[in-house]
Amino acid sequence: MATRLPSVDVVIIGVGWGGSIFAKELTDLGLRVVGLERGGNRDTSTDFRLPNYNRADELRYAHRGDLFQNLSRDTVTFRHTTHDTALPMRQLGSFLPGEGLGGAGVHWNGQNWRFLPWDFETRSQTLRRYGAKALPPDNMVADWGVTYADLEPYMDKWEYLCGISGKAGNIQGKIQPGGNPFEGPRQRDFPNPPLTPSYGMTLFQQAAAGLGYHPFFTPAANSSQPYTNTYGVQLGGCLYCGFCERFGCEAYAKASPMTCVFPVLLPSPHFDLRTHTTVTRLNLDNTRRRVTSVTYVDAQGLEYEQPADLVLLTAWTLNNVRLLLVSGIGTPYNPSTGEGVVGRNYAYQAGTGATMFFENQVFNPFMGSGALQMAIDDFNGDNFNHAGLGFIGGGSLTLSSTGARPIDTHPTPVGTPRWGSAWKTAVAHYYQRFLGMGVQAGVLAYRGNYLDLDPTYRDAFGLPLLRMTFDWGPNEHAVSRYMVPVLQRLASAMKADKVSVGPLSAHYSIVPYQSTHNTGGVIMGTDPRASAVNKYLQMWDVPNLFVVGASAYPQNAGYNPTGTLGGLIYWTVDALKNKYLKHPGPLVS
């Protein structure tokens, strides 16, 4: 029997980026906020500081997954179609959810994009420019219900929280040399200048410009210099250590909830952080239109019920979906009828990559930073004419210097054996002589790609696992086919001696790492029959519940999702402060 606790104003489920920012903003108003985090406590100043060189441990962090979700407790099951039997993801691979305070915001790379204006209006703009035939069969592509212009002030706020390093391409409609000319207009430049480019990035920049493309620095949540953020927290300058993605930052330079928010949140007397607490259910009243409390299990295995006036579900994408489904909130999506809202429009990121080898140039690939990257956006969104191409959208094309830790990164040209002396010789020769380049393409929503509860497999708390039914659709393959020659053209322009291009796999596999850019399942929109949350991320059915995450994306764009999510977080903060808390109830009727 759960112990019922005294009611509080706000319960936050999952204390990562979203949870920490909501907690900061709402405790500042004097609200009593409880933060429930299923993982452990964590603090940059003690966990990752220098001198403490064991943070630079590839085996512990990148391979044994020190900062990742422990699958022995819960995982997902996976299948391609409803005709297949889903089996559990028993080992981490395709994506790497975070666990513990700060969530995946601790181990991300920091590639911080604003989605393009087109990305928020994909359906209507496609219909307007190309007609209904441009959309593939069984697509569920939708507009977001917010526009780029709506979110711009909030993405700006996020960028100044994180100390993003970059170079604007469009300030208030005026194109800026050296920036991304395709980006939506921004009110001002980034708070920090770009990072120092690697030699490989310089080669890419020259080659891309020579081909008439428009190279620019990927906006980086790796601060290029010491920076004091909007909460008065001090960030350090990036050391280019090359241990960024999958690692904590020792230099306070990678924006994370720990480096950007916790120093000013944790001292608040209004914030009650409870780590090692796993929420198992959100409880509705008998009208089923109000969350009254959440049930959780603490580190002693004891069950508690925490009542609250307002509940913010800010777990990771897949956990947001699962908690709604196990709590019976919102109508589960049914792929055979296309009806229902929770679990629909699951999407991901589709990669096409190229590895280039150079006999006479060296790159020191171990020097790097999570978002140290040169990009072109000439083939993203609707930045190029798609008439007659047979697909919509595209992806950002980048050359990165994110650091080459050798367990994971020791590429060899095609035809090299996997082991033995020939392999060893090639690894020794090419470690200094390779560059990686890739396209990160969007993924459309399709009727058959969705999330629901698995009928068979359960977690450590006896709850059903989430079941993922997903495969690449025709649009993703078409984009990849289109991008292969683009990558080859760039490799030639960079004078690579050998190049291996890896198009999108025939079918999605949960085995190799691709990205932790899982989106959808609790999507936002304007129609309560086709979206789970309104444009303020408020559940249509349950107005005192907000579900915040990339779970809100109706489809995924050709970018890393976090920068846009940061904008959505502040957009929702604003709606709570200036609308909901003044008049609790549905914000959109």
């Binding site: 085996l59 044994r64 559990p88 250590c241 060296v362 367990i407």
Partner: protein, 254 residues
């Protein structure tokens, strides 16, 4: 081992179909004359002396693998990353010991794997679906591979010549060895476990027992744990940054 797979194996080595009818010992006679083991690594190196010293101190000992298993792993990693003209390989780097230590700890027990049933046979895109923990898979795989080697050669894997060892590893990699209780997919999973542990042991921080004397890092020029390149990244454009690599222990000792 199925007859079909054994015939395929012998065929690759240039043995006629009739050879399959010979007793195992005779097969071994026919198959055996192959190139000698890899030439001895020239001269006693500092590394070898250091290894000898480490062995004498008695601080490192196998705590998981039994003796035949240890011979197997030592022989296998020596073929996966051999000592050659470029320098020492995985054996010299202590990778067999690294594997032993990984299997004896949390990784060996699959501590972060989801290991609840029911167990199904999936498609490759669904990933590993065996109920075997890494420590079990290693033992099952070694036993099945040694059984295959005994049936084909009358010798354990560790006793074979290097070319035969390479052939056996290739068959494992290509899912072409099986046995009555161990299907090729399991042996392929075993090979992948052995392979990934070998790569890890060659390039992981020496604190874990492999990558001795930073052999793996020196091979590729990876500087290790003391990783601070602000200022340097701009200077080292198309110019190799050379530094004596630092392990966690080295860097923490500064």
């Amino acid at each position: 081992m199925s007859g079909i797979n054994r015939r395929r194996f012998l065929g690759l080595l240039g043995i006629t179909g009739g050879a399959g009818l010979l007793p195992h010992a005779a097969e071994a006679q026919v198959v055996a004359p192959l190139p000698p083991k890899a030439p001895a690594f020239p001269g006693p190196t500092d590394q070898e002396q250091a290894n000898e010293k480490a062995a004498l101190t008695g601080q490192q000992a196998y705590t998981f693998l039994d003796i035949p298993e240890r011979y197997f792993v030592e022989a296998a990693v020596a073929r996966l990353i051999p000592a050659d003209a470029l320098g020492p390989g995985a054996l010299e780097a202590g990778v067999a010991y690294f594997i032993d230590q990984q299997l004896t700890g949390a990784y060996g027990f699959g501590a972060t794997w989801y290991m609840r049933g029911p167990w199904g046979i999936g498609i490759p895109e669904q990933g590993y679906q065996l109920p075997l923990l890494p420590r079990d898979l290693m033992k099952v795989g070694i036993a099945a591979t040694n059984a295959f080697c005994q049936a084909s050669y009358g010798q354990d894997f560790a006793e074979l010549g290097t070319a035969q060892q390479d052939a056996v590893l290739t068959f494992l990699d290509q899912s072409q060895i099986d046995g009555p209780a161990v299907p090729p997919t399991t042996l392929k999973a075993f090979f992948e476990l052995l392979y990934s542990l070998t790569i890890e042991g060659f390039f992981a921080d020496p604190a874990y027992g492999g990558n001795r004397d930073k052999i793996g890092w020196k091979l590729v020029g990876f500087p290790g744990a003391r990783a601070e390149y602000a200022g340097l990244i701009g200077q080292y454009q198309n110019k190799v940054y050379v530094v004596d690599p630092a392990s966690i222990a080295d860097a923490d000792g500064v």
